[in-house]
């Protein structure tokens, strides 16, 4: 059982989260406005700046925002920003009350998280996305899925592998359906693929027949006096093996470094499977 003080601590942590949520809804002591179009959020500098590097930089220094106490943002979806601010205060958000498909919503959340450098938000959004497409059987075939892919490849940066891999995994699993011209219900998807070359290239790479590269096979000879037969063996550095010669039964309990003195050649072998 966890020590008593840990229970206390857990309770305190929970209380902290509750208090922070209250702070968000009550809008007490707010000292910063975030504006997007005609929407305004009244927030707390201390909290927002601590959770987002973008807001931290905006509120520091000599720029206009620091003086006015207003950060006006552009090019974003109000419902996404709303949930992002929720997340900033609560470490969670729910997309159920949005009108957008969860797939699309979460991709947009990833983009916002990356743009505004909100810690851990992108990871949460990706895992939510993964949950939806894996659990809603037909999600992969929806128009929203195709739209989500298009947005993912244009609004997040290339090095965000988690988001891309999650989407690609689903596409590859259903590639035989999605890419067939005769299935017109996927025309939207195919159209998207045609317009999003970086996505198509990645799918193609995954669909190509994979090569299996075997480890390096070294050739050794048996040190037994009457044997001297040669072998192939895939021992790598640092590996401890007990070795028995197939031909004469020579046995030695020494490790790899001892083996090394009987190595004849080092051959990388590529075998197609």
């Amino acid at each position: 059982m966890a020590p008593h003080y840990e229970q206390t601590r857990d309770a305190a942590n929970a209380a902290l989260l509750t208090d922070l949520s209250t702070l968000l809804t009550s809008e007490e002591h707010t000292d910063l406005k975030i504006k997007l179009g005609d929407r305004v959020w009244n927030v707390h500098k201390a909290i927002v700046c601590a959770r987002s590097d973008f807001f931290a930089k905006a509120c520091k220094g000599d720029f206009k925002e620091a003086k006015d106490g207003v950060v006006e943002i552009h090019d974003d979806y109000p419902e996404v920003i709303d949930k992002m601010i929720h997340y900033i205060y609560k470490t969670e958000y729910s997309e159920s009350d949005t009108e957008l498909a969860p797939v699309l919503f979460n991709v947009r959340m990833v983009a916002a998280a990356e743009k505004y450098f909100v810690k851990f938000l992108a990871a949460l959004a990706v895992s939510k996305l993964d949950y939806f497409i894996s659990n809603v059987g037909t999600a992969w075939g929806s128009k929203d899925f195709a739209d989500a892919i298009a947005e993912a490849y244009t609004t997040t940066h290339d090095s965000d592998r988690e988001l891309r891999d999650t989407l690609l995994q689903m596409v590859v699993a259903h590639a035989d359906m999605l890419f067939r011209k005769e299935f017109t219900e996927f025309a939207h998807f195919q159209d998207m693929a045609a317009k999003t070359p970086s996505f198509s290239a990645e799918v193609a790479a995954l669909l190509a027949k994979p090569l299996e590269i075997s480890p390096i096979l070294n050739i050794y000879y048996c040190p037994g006096d009457d044997c001297r037969e040669s072998f192939r063996s895939a021992i790598t550095d640092g590996q401890r093996v007990k070795w028995t010669c197939d031909y004469c039964g020579w046995e030695d309990e020494d490790d790899y470094s001892w083996w090394q003195s009987y190595k004849i050649a080092e051959l990388p072998v590529v075998e197609a499977t």
Binding site: D53, K57, A58, F63, I73, V103
Partner: protein
């Protein structure tokens, strides 16, 4: 299919995924904002707008171009505007002065200094502005830094901008003239110039320099940002250390010439502290150990020898008891070398010289020894003078040692290395005095007889300690033992010791210092003394029990000495008396009876022991009645109690049987007593020559005693005292004359020979076989606590042991080796 066909909300501007972005247009927005930032007019700019534009560019995969444009922008800005501002502060006059190309007067100096400060201030300003602006740009370009730079492993834009500052500002040349140093070099010159002023006692703006040093510390020589490539290290520090070395070399020269060593030390210490402060307040703390080494090298390491040997150096300080200055010298050298080689060397030399002076002085005091058979009395006086010189030598040695001990404690922090050095040199000069062992023993002897009189226990304690300390230095412990035994023997037998207690304390200290072996025989001497007292008392009782209560009986106090324990000269007669010593001394019947009586008593107690009577060692109290002579009290018989040596008693007893006025010749006296000639002569001298104790008259009256001299009883002897002590000429402990010393040496060599043989046999018995070299080494090790054996002597002893078949040579062994023969 809950989501399918849901109405989508399209926000008014959704430009990102589909919207086109014109790079040039976007960059123009950024560039104009950057200009505003550099001109410190950022307050109207929206961070969000700039960030968003930069974000868009990177998202559109134009991060590469953005990065290059920003760098280009900075290069332009630094290369034109900032460079111009800096170069403006470098007028030709300043550049010339820094290069030493013009010789400005002091007025010019001041102007150059002002110009230098202006330059520093401008550079500081440029650097600080650049930092501020770049930190703002970095904020704006955060997305580029975190995404583009991280993915492509480019240095952050901030780092690149810092390198640009180095390239565009620090590496630029004033008016594009390559023959001048670049700004970085100029900066070095200006800073070094300021430091020079501060070293000369001026006040400078430390903070101003510190900021510029910060800049150098924040920049690197190339794009590898490794610690060793900091501009501070590659550009400034080297020059700083080099110019400092030059400065301190010159200072060292000047100080050595102009001030005394104490001042030199103080100045050096101040300079080191000053440089430490300078690193902290003006430069970088990372330089502290390096500049310290420079100062230590130039002012201490390379100068220590000159300093110590200078006229006002260590010798002067020691002579004049400048303990604080010595402490400074110690401090300084300890900084550069924990072994303090120069100070140690100097101290050793000085101690050795002072010690040698003492030795020489003692030699002068003891010099000009008159041949022995010349007039006896002057020779004795000479011997006494020498004894005084010997005692003075020991006192001087003690004083010297105390002096250095005090210096060691006060000035050298009781340092172990120095202690060893002092010990070694002291031991060296003490042992270089050939008679040190004898002198030390004499010193103790003198104190035991006179020195401790009226002293408190504590003072005596100190004295004993001193004696032991000195003894520690003496290498030839065996020689010392020989002399100590001799001196102690005389003290004990003649009752000259002031306190047997103190004597015993001395012995127990020696025992602690030198071990049991050393004191066994000395303790034996004390035991003999105690036993003898018991014997005397026992004999008295024995006589009483015999019932022979003769009132005229002679009281006997006897000392029975164990022959091996006591020094040879007390138990054996001198060798040249060998012939005479075979003759038995003839005792008159009254004495002989007593002698026999005691021998009987003794043999009863201890059978099988031989008693050998030592007439030369004993004393006797003799009551003498002198005939009436006129005196102011009228006619009276005079009785005196004479305290004389045993021999003198025998001589006087002869006159008992002689009619008044009759005489005896020397030969007659000798024939009737068998006293050895030299003893007889000495006793007759005290009885007949010494003016105050002239119990006998001699004819002819002269100082020398000749065979044909005649002796009469002096009936007219006069003395104010009832008791008269008739001393034997030169019976006290004094330094030996040459003949005696040769003898002592010979005896000592003999006993060393035995000690060596014993050691060799002990070693061989254990090891069975050993090479010559090993045997010699082990023998020396074993005997080291007693004396330093002479290798030749060891060789001879080994030869002798082989002859006597204790050992044999191992034939056909490559190096000469021996085998033990059981």
């Amino acid at each position: 299919m809950a989501t399918r066909g849901t109405r989508k909300i399209r926000p008014p501007r959704r430009g990102l995924n589909n919207g086109e972005m014109d790079f040039e247009q976007t960059w123009a927005i950024l560039a104009s904002a950057f200009t505003q930032i550099h001109e410190k007019q950022a307050s109207k700019l929206s961070y969000e707008e700039l960030y968003r534009n930069a974000y868009k560019i990177v998202l559109k995969k134009k991060g590469d171009e953005l990065y290059l444009r920003v760098a280009e922008f900075e290069r332009d800005w630094l290369g034109s505007e900032i460079q111009r501002r800096i170069h403006k502060e470098l007028p030709p006059q300043l550049m010339n002065a820094l290069q030493g190309r013009s010789s400005a007067g002091s007025a010019g100096d001041n102007q150059v200094r002002k110009q230098g400060e202006r330059f520093l201030r401008q550079l500081k300003l440029a650097w600080e502005d650049h930092q501020t602006c770049m930190s703002m740009l970095t904020d704006v370009l955060m997305y580029m830094d975190r995404v583009y730079c991280t993915d492509t492993r480019r240095p952050s834009i901030f780092t690149t901008a810092m390198s640009l500052f180095r390239d565009c500002i620090l590496r630029s040349h004033v008016r594009g003239d390559d023959s001048w140093p670049d700004i970085c070099g100029t900066l070095n010159h200006v800073i070094l110039d300021q430091i020079r002023m501060e070293r000369d006692g001026d006040f400078i703006d430390k903070h101003l320099i510190k900021v510029n040093v910060y800049m150098l510390e924040g920049l690197y020589d190339s794009h590898h940002e490794v610690e060793e490539e900091k501009l501070y290290l590659t550009s400034f520090e080297y020059e700083f250390l080099a110019s400092s070395a030059e400065f301190y070399r010159a200072l060292g020269d000047r100080l050595l010439k102009e001030s005394d060593a104490g001042q030199y030390c103080r100045e050096t210490r101040n300079r080191i502290d000053e440089e430490n402060d300078r690193c902290r307040s003006t430069l970088s703390e990372s330089t502290t150990p390096k500049i310290q080494k420079v100062v230590e090298d130039e002012l201490i390491r390379y100068r220590m020898k000159d300093l110590i040997e200078s006229e006002s150096g260590v010798r002067f300080m020691i002579t004049n008891e400048r303990h604080d200055d010595l402490a400074l010298v110690f401090d300084l050298e300890a900084r550069v070398d924990p072994r303090k080689p120069e100070l140690t060397k100097a101290l050793q030399k000085i101690i050795l010289e002072m010690g040698t002076n003492l030795n020489d002085a003692a030699q002068v005091g003891a010099a000009a020894e008159v041949p022995e058979d010349k007039a006896k009395a002057p020779a004795d006086r000479l011997v006494n003078q020498q004894t005084v010189a010997a005692l003075k030598w020991v006192e001087d040695v003690l004083e010297l040692k105390d002096k250095f001990d005090a210096i060691w404690k006060q000035s050298f922090q009781s340092d172990q290395t120095i202690h060893t050095a002092i010990m070694r040199s002291t031991a060296e000069f003490i042992n270089s005095h050939p008679r040190c062992a004898e002198y030390m023993s004499l010193f103790i002897d003198d104190n035991m007889k006179k020195g401790i009189k009226g002293k408190t226990e504590l003072e005596i304690e100190v004295l004993l300690d001193k004696a032991i300390v000195l003894l520690r230095y003496v290498q030839e412990k065996d020689v010392f033992e020989l002399y100590y035994k001799k001196h102690l023997g005389k003290r004990l037998l003649m009752g000259r010791s002031l306190s047997i207690d103190v004597e015993k304390q001395m012995i127990s200290r020696m025992k602690m210092e030198l071990g049991n072996n050393f004191t066994a025989k000395l303790e034996g001497m004390f035991k003999d003394m105690t036993l003898s007292e018991e014997l005397t008392a026992g004999y008295k009782g024995y006589v009483a029990r015999l019932g022979d209560a003769d009132p005229r009986r002679i009281d006997l106090a006897i000392n029975v000495l164990t022959s091996m324990t006591w020094p040879v000269e007390t138990t054996n007669s001198a060798p040249d008396d060998a012939r005479e010593s075979r003759l038995k001394t003839i005792y008159p019947p009254a004495v002989e009876r007593i002698r026999q009586g005691f021998e009987n008593y003794y043999k009863e107690k201890y059978s099988g022991r031989m008693l050998d009577w030592k007439g030369n060692m004993g004393t006797a109290d003799v009551k003498v009645t002198f005939p009436k002579v006129p005196s102011k009290d009228g006619f009276k018989e005079r009785r005196h109690e004479l305290n004389v040596s045993t021999y003198a008693m025998l001589i006087l007893l002869l006159f008992n049987d002689l009619p008044s006025g009759a005489s005896l010749s020397l030969e007659e006296i000798q024939a009737r007593t068998n006293i050895p000639t030299n003893e007889l002569v000495r006793n007759l001298q005290s009885l007949a020559v010494a003016p105050k104790t002239r119990i006998l008259l001699k004819e002819p009256m002269s100082k020398d005693i000749k065979d044909t001299d005649k002796f009469f009883f002096n009936e007219g002897f006069m003395s104010k005292f009832l008791k008269v002590k008739i001393g034997i000429v030169s019976a006290g402990n004094r330094i030996e004359n040459d003949r005696e010393r040769v003898e002592t040496e010979k005896k000592n060599n003999d006993s060393r020979g035995y000690a060596i043989e014993a050691a060799v046999v002990r070693i061989m018995k254990q090891r069975k076989e050993l090479s010559h070299q090993q045997l010699v080494t082990e023998t020396i090790t074993q005997l080291n606590s007693q004396f330093k054996p002479d290798v030749n002597m060891i060789k001879k002893r080994i030869e002798s042991l082989i002859e006597r078949e204790y050992l044999e040579r191992i034939e056909d062994s490559p190096s000469s080796s021996y085998r033990y023969l059981a």
